[in-house]
């Protein structure tokens, strides 16, 4: 079976899934107070983006979309390493993971 491109409607379906994942991640990031979950939610946003990118890759029949997913993975890994390090640091400081405990920039 030859690999053929999906059309825009099928693409839209995958984009829907990607967008839903992205927005759910966003909502989670905005509303959850646990720092770790917040970062988990950012990973979920990455996931949504990855789905979209792969769908585009199939839509356009080129591999750039998938290549970009690799970059996304790279960034996600780097972010996870740093962010989790920071989370641990913050936790050591205040003994809590509550994001509301960190509001030093309050105007």
């Amino acid at each position: 079976m030859p690999l053929n491109a999906i059309d825009s409607l099928a693409l839209s379906h995958f984009l829907l899934t990607g967008a839903v994942l992205f927005c759910l991640g966003l909502i989670g990031f905005i509303s959850r107070r646990n720092l770790i979950i917040m970062f988990l939610c950012t990973e979920m946003m990455f996931q949504g983006v990855a789905v979209s990118l792969v769908a585009f890759s199939r839509f356009h029949l080129n591999d750039t979309g998938q290549t970009f997913v690799i970059f996304v993975l790279t960034i996600a890994a780097a972010e996870a390493a740093l962010a989790l390090g920071l989370v641990v640091l913050l936790f050591r400081r205040k003994k809590t993971l509550d994001a509301l405990a960190w509001s030093d920039l309050k105007g």
Binding site: L26, F29, I30, S31, R33, M38, A99, L100, W102, S103, D104, L105, K106, G107
Partner: protein, 698 residues
């Protein structure tokens, strides 16, 4: 002697002042300041003498000696240039001559004082300013001298600067003068606007030409004299700006003699005399000058009657005499005015200096009530002052007699005859009354101080000098005569002048003033109709030679070329001589009776009219009036403005400044500091932007 040397006259005193300033720096050098200062005044006097003969025969180009260009913008060119004519020479003689005598006296008077060098720096600087004033070729340079003398007056009045009243007096003098100076400055502006030059010679020539051609005064012409006059009133202490002069006596006595009697205060008279044609252009100017002069003369004379402070009496007397001079120039008699200025310089300087001697001897005591019968203690001073008093009182054939008589006679000539103006008639009468008062208060003072039973109370300080008074420290216990050198010798010269200057220099003055460019341009005819305001009907002088040919004592009338008028004037002059002699003698006699022979009666009378005496003693409450109507409201205004500035203007500005803060404050809650809040905002922003860009844009 080359005429160019005259350029040096102002600068030598300036150099002297600079040297005196150097002398200030080390106490050892201070003693040098006196001689330096005297020399720096005396050398210009010698130069003046040398140049004098040459000055008579100057042509037009030589009359103006330019040193360098001072200010220049476009057409407005002001040179450091000197204008030489006989009037200037007369003034120079007065300034440098009397100045050297007074400075010499001051060498003794100020001896050992802490500010010795500072004093002489002020004196030399003053002579610089004063010579610049009288030699100035243009109004701006004259203004330089004008303000310069004001400054020196300020510095010298405030010489005893740790005495609050001296500081206040100095400030008052400067500020009141400044008021006049503002008028003067505006006068200069208007002059420049009208004539497109500020050169005195050109302005007077143009004005004279305008007068001679039969003039039609423009508004500017009418205003210029009044503005300039304000300056003259300020400088010469005429009503309403007379208040500073009596206070100015807080300065050392030689300063009072030099600055506030002989020279600076006469600058106003000189200026009006110099600009006579300009004043003639306005029909109301000279009568105003004469009126103010006459009123001031009488006004100050009455105040002098009831003053107990030795120097204050002479101060009011000076105001009064200056009033005479204004009356003189106002009556178109530059000769009278300047002549009186000349003689007044002698006798008033003499009077002040002798008063200074008395004060010096009594350790600063100035109260008339605290001294009496000092003739034995200080015989020389006594008789020197007597000479001065005679001259001031107008005793026949003394200096004051001639000059005062000339002024009164001229005023009377204006006030009588077929074109006589009632104004001038009454001014002349006022002048006569003042003459009587003058004789009375002068001799009241002299009799009080030197006659009667011997009695004195020493003052509480020795005129402000501190412990450095040195060798003549002992004088604080007993009044003593002044040494001949350097004090009494110059006084003797002045006394000779006071007694005989009138006789000797009358002719000399006449010729000088006749030759001066400052002479009146026209002869006047007073309108017959007494109902209308005194306005002059101007008759052009057709022939300058007529003026020269005219008789000395009626020169101003010469323009008429009318024998009858000349005869009438001569008659009035003779009559006035008799009348004023009589008045002077009467005044002296009455003063002798009340203040020498029968002092208790005087006290009784004074007690009966205590209200009048009180008013006179308090100088008609003019100071208080000014304080109440001008100074205090202004200061209150200042406070008000400050509050306005602080609260209203600054408040408005701050309100504007707070607007952004207000906005910031109102949106501040959005900055919760929680990253999720910002994320929420970002999401909404993204959604909105996406909507705007992708949905609504299509």
């Amino acid at each position: 002697m080359p005429i160019e040397l005259i350029k040096l006259v102002p600068w030598i005193p300036l150099l002297g002042a600079a040297l005196c300033g150097v002398c200030c720096m080390k106490p050892v050098w201070r003693k040098a300041a006196g001689p330096i200062s005297v020399l720096s005044i005396f050398i210009p006097f010698l130069i003046t003498c040398g140049v004098y003969s040459a000055a008579k025969h100057l042509n037009d180009t030589q009359q103006v000696q330019t040193v360098y260009s001072w200010i220049g913008v476009g057409e407005f060119q002001v040179n450091m240039a000197y204008f030489i004519d006989p009037l200037t020479m007369v003034m120079l003689f007065v300034v440098t001559g009397i100045g050297s005598l007074i400075a010499t006296y001051a060498m003794g008077y100020m001896k050992g004082d802490r500010g010795y060098a500072r004093f002489f720096m002020g004196v030399s600087l003053f002579i610089f300013a004063m010579t610049t004033l009288v030699m100035a070729d243009n109004l701006v340079l004259l203004y330089l001298g004008w303000e310069g003398v004001g400054l020196c007056s300020y510095l010298l009045i405030g010489y005893y600067y740790d005495k609050p009243f001296a500081v206040a007096a100095a400030k008052k003098a400067f500020i009141v003068n400044r008021i006049g100076d503002l008028g003067f400055a505006l006068g200069i502006f208007l002059t420049y606007m009208t004539y497109h030059t500020v050169s005195l010679s050109v302005v007077t020539d143009m004005a004279r030409h305008a007068v001679e051609q039969g003039f039609d005064p423009t508004t500017a012409d009418l205003w210029i004299p009044f503005l300039l006059m304000l300056g003259a009133f300020g400088k010469s202490a005429q009503i309403p700006l007379h208040v500073w002069l009596p206070d100015a006596m807080a300065g050392p006595t030689p300063v009072s003699a030099l600055v506030h009697a002989a020279t600076m205060v006469t600058a106003g008279v000189y200026m009006i005399a110099r600009l006579m044609p300009v004043f003639q252009l306005s029909p109301y100017a000279l009568p105003t000058v004469a009126t103010v002069g006459g009123v001031t003369a009488l006004f100050a004379g009455t105040i002098a009657l009831c003053q107990y402070d030795l120097k204050k009496v002479f101060a009011y007397s000076t105001v009064s005499q200056l009033g005479y001079m204004f009356l003189g120039v106002g009556a178109l008699s530059t000769f009278g005015g300047i002549f009186h200025l000349f003689t007044h310089a002698f006798f008033k300087a003499l009077l002040f200096l002798t008063a200074g001697s008395v004060m010096h001897a009594l350790a600063g005591q100035l109260d008339l009530r605290a001294m009496s019968g000092l003739r034995h203690k200080m015989p020389v001073t006594c008789w020197l002052m007597f000479a001065g008093c005679l001259a001031l009182a107008g005793f026949p054939f003394t200096a004051g007699f001639f000059s005062k008589d000339t002024i009164l006679a001229e005023a009377m000539v204006r006030g009588t005859g077929e074109h006589g103006s009632t104004l001038f008639f009454w001014l002349a009468i006022m002048g006569l009354a003042t003459a009587f008062l003058t004789a009375f208060y002068t001799f009241r003072l002299w009799f009080r101080v030197f006659m009667g039973p011997e009695h004195f109370e020493m003052g509480d300080d020795d005129h402000g000098a501190d412990d450095a008074h040195g060798d003549d420290h002992g004088h604080a216990h007993e009044p003593h005569e002044m040494p001949w050198w350097p004090m009494n010798a110059p006084l003797a010269v002045l006394a000779v002048g006071a007694l005989f200057a009138g006789l000797i220099f009358s002719g000399w003055m006449t010729t000088n003033i006749e030759e001066s460019t400052a002479q009146p341009a026209v002869a006047l005819n007073i309108q017959t109709d007494p109902q209308t305001a005194p306005a002059y009907e101007i008759i052009a002088v057709s022939d300058q030679a007529d003026t020269h040919a005219a008789a000395a004592d009626s020169h101003a009338d010469a323009g008429h070329g009318d024998d009858h008028e000349a005869h009438r004037a001569h008659g009035i002059h003779v009559l006035l001589k008799w009348v004023s002699s009589f008045i002077a003698l009467l005044g002296i006699a009455l003063a002798g009776y009340f203040h020498w022979l029968n002092r208790p009666l005087t006290d009784q009378i004074a007690k009966r009219f205590s209200g009048v005496v009180e008013v006179l003693y308090n100088k008609y409450y003019v100071d208080e009036l000014y304080d109440l109507t001008i100074v205090k409201p202004l200061r209150r205004l200042g406070h008000g403005f400050y509050l306005f500035d602080q609260f209203v203007i600054n408040g408005l500005v701050m309100t504007v400044g707070y607007l952004p803060r207000l906005v910031g404050w109102s949106v501040r809650p959005t900055q919760s500091g929680q990253i999720q809040g910002y994320g929420l905002g970002m999401v909404m922003g993204m959604a909105l932007v996406a909507l705007l860009v992708f949905k609504w844009a299509f």
